[in-house]
């Protein structure tokens, strides 16, 4: 396994933090929300559901998720933290590998350097054109870690199901097409199926969000979405479904690797149903991956404590402008909110 990327994470984390010695750190932060890039087109929703029967044939299930958070601001930039987790379920037991948190001090001066170094460590010759801005950097660094974790799973799991958080849309700075193809190719080569669950979607059918379309059919089932053509350079590496896997009003957009035959796709979801726990239509393995990498307020305080102890940062509580101006109506900034 190529461990260049996590090594670079550590090196750059430590290197960037050396430049924050004895600076004041402002705590108030705005959290970064991911705005998923959805392909926009007049899509078709096949209202004939694909019924599913759970298959209990023993199958390894693995999931990946990453998370990023802004810890505070210095005079020169921001301090962010990134963490990722792989979770797997094998023979009724869950296990995990959690990487991080990696803490970076990002300034205008080192933003390009940090990102490009990390990107080079992993993407080698692909996609060097898009340097993120200040607001995007936490998500971008988290995406780099996420791709690396996905690659790890695609190269180590055999005959299993690999669950991604999000869609299989490629062609973005976060998800270079070539690279996503390689991940999916590696997974297929080991007889794995990649299933990507999106918690939120903007895809609409007849004006309704596709996951809100309710059929009389009893779950579990899939609804196939067709005629989905994203605007270039975005491409879909998976076919898109609405997955309603348990009773109740919970449904998710599910992207399944295009290169997999329809029968195998259905079989993969059925194996997932037979091997993982489901609550609110969402697989437990992916939920655990999310839970394990999410930063809690306690951890944010701990990281602030770490940098103030180790690098002598003075923590300053910047006045909350929303609160100052609007009193109890000023609810713009939340402290230590988890992402």
């Amino acid at each position: 396994m190529d461990t260049t990327l996590p090594q670079r994470f550590i090196e750059l984390s430590l290197h960037s933090l050396k430049h924050v010695q004895n600076q004041p750190l402002q705590l108030n932060q705005q959290t970064f929300q991911q705005n998923p890039i959805e392909p926009l087109n007049a899509l078709q929703l096949k209202l004939q559901p694909i019924p599913l029967k759970p298959k209990t044939e023993e199958t390894t299930i693995a999931a990946v998720d990453t998370s990023s958070i802004k810890i505070g601001e210095t005079n020169k930039g921001i301090i962010i933290a990134v963490r990722g987790a792989n979770v797997w379920k094998n023979k009724r037991n869950y296990g995990y590998l959690r990487l991080g948190p990696f803490i970076f001090h990002i300034t205008e001066e080192n933003l390009k350097e940090v990102y490009n170094t990390l990107q080079k460590a992993y993407f080698t010759e692909h996609n060097h054109q898009t340097s993120p801005n200040f607001m995007q950097i936490p998500m971008r660094i988290a995406s780099l870690l996420e791709r690396w974790l996905q690659t790890t799973l695609s190269k180590t799991i055999n005959n299993g199901l690999i669950l991604f958080d999000g869609s299989l849309t490629a062609g973005t700075a976060d998800a270079p097409t070539q690279h996503m193809k390689e991940i999916l190719g590696n997974a297929r080569g080991r007889n794995n199926v990649v299933l990507a669950f999106s918690k939120m979607t903007t895809l609409r059918f007849n004006g309704y969000i596709v996951t809100d379309v309710l059929l009389a059919h009893k779950p579990p089932y899939l609804l196939e979405i067709s005629n989905l053509k994203p605007k270039p350079p975005l491409i879909l590496l998976g076919d898109v479904y609405v997955a309603r896997l348990t009773n109740g009003n919970y449904a998710f957009r599910l992207d399944i690797d295009k290169e997999i035959s329809i029968e195998k796709r259905v079989e993969a979801v059925e194996k997932l149903l037979g091997n993982d726990l489901f609550f609110q239509s969402y697989p437990e393995t992916l939920r655990l991956a999310h839970i394990l990498c999410t930063f809690t307020a306690n951890e944010v305080i701990a990281m602030q404590h770490f940098i103030s102890q180790k690098y002598g940062l003075k923590i300053v509580n910047r006045p909350d402008m929303h609160r100052l101006l609007f009193g109890p109506f000023g609810k713009g900034e939340n402290r230590n909110e988890t992402v």
Binding site: P6, F9, I10, S13, L14, V87, N93, Y94, G95, Y96, L97, R98, L99, G100, P101, F102, I103, L288, I291, L292, T294, T296, A297, N298, E299, V300, I301, A302, M303, H305, F306, Q309, N336, T338
Partner: protein
Amino acid sequence: MKLYRKEGNIVQILSFPNETVEKGDYLLVEDAEAGKALIVQVIDVQFANIPGVLEELLRSLPDGGELLQGEDFDPLEIAPHITYIQDSRLLICKIRATVENENLSPSSSWLPSRSQSTIRKLTISTLLKLAKVDGNLPIALGGTKESSLLTIDASALDGRLNIITGKKETGKSHLSKLLILNLMQYKATVVVFDLNGEYGGLGMTSDGKRNAHYNKIHVLIPSQNFKVALKQLHLHVLLNILIHALHLPGTSAREFRRIWQFLKEKDNLTLHELGEAIRNWHCNQNVRDALFSRYYALVNSGFFTDNIAEATLLEECLFKAKEEGGTIIINLRNTSPIDRQTVVEYVLGKLVELLTSWKLKAVFLLAEEAHLYLRETYWDDIVTRMRHFGIFTTFITNQPDTIRENIYRQADNIFLFNFTNEHDLEVVSRAARVDAETVKSIARDLPPHHCLALGKVVKDFPMVVKVKALDVKTMGETRLFFKDMN
């Protein structure tokens, strides 16, 4: 440690895992700029309300309650910081005093700086020096948590009303014995109402040999070596016995007074003559029956005698104790409840008599489970009248609700052992010399043989002490059925 907030006389202090602070500890909150410091005592230790802790705990147990197995690659070693933050604690502290130029004042009207104040632990020995808890008559109670000795001054017990309370087998009697031996060393006269016969061994070491106090310990067993002749009694003492212990009605008491005067004039105050006088007295038959029933109660108690030679021990012991200090232990173990009251009425009457006539200077009275033999009216007497005569009482009980509320309010010193029962703590917390929170919070967690000393002996700085061991013979042990089987 950081000062977090203050409300009334309670301050909250944030403490981190590397700072070991426990309930009962004293802290000094110093504000260098103000030139003052607050002395606060920790009365409770809580987890600090850290945001996200619930998520953190839930995250560690997502697999059906079992720990999730996995590996963490934490290159910057943030995990110890998370634990550090998670384990930070909030110390709930009571303000006890302000120190300014090494002088203590009970004021809490100022507020130290939250950002500039430094907080450090105040050792008990330093506090004792600051509070000037010393004197010429030291009594070493035992060790504090810091292994320093807590020494009180015997004069802090002089003229005071004290309470020793705690649940069973926590060490109340042990502390009482320690106080008795120390008071005796300073030539004090001590009288003990020993309900379970456990003080008799004070004059002997644990292996049964005589110790230095042997000659100063006088054990009086009613009806055996402790008897009273009618001639020695004052009428009012006997009337108190008849009315309060034997419940003689008022009319009969009047007739008894006449009979007594008649016999006294004839110098014929003997049990036999008293019986004859009642038999031949011209009075209503019901009155005669009432007097006879009490007369036989007195005779059957075995406590009364016509032999003066048999009836001088109490006075002898008291006078001996007056000279060189000593303890008179009234062993009430095998005495019936009515006889017990009779004996107590007599002893208290005798003490008042000797004190009023200045034949005795003062007496330290230790009363175990006093509700079992002390009549209702004595409670008020003890805290008001008797104190002025020179009877300084220490009540010892494991049922705090048997002592009246006004006793708690007027108690000068309380030695509080462990209580877990909410009701018991509620009762003790009515004491005027301490706040309810301190009592409830600290007493609940006291280990056996540890006591919370409150009041004048510690200059109103509540202190926890492990009562030191004594090499005296243990008596009055609970009889056990399975003792030899294990």
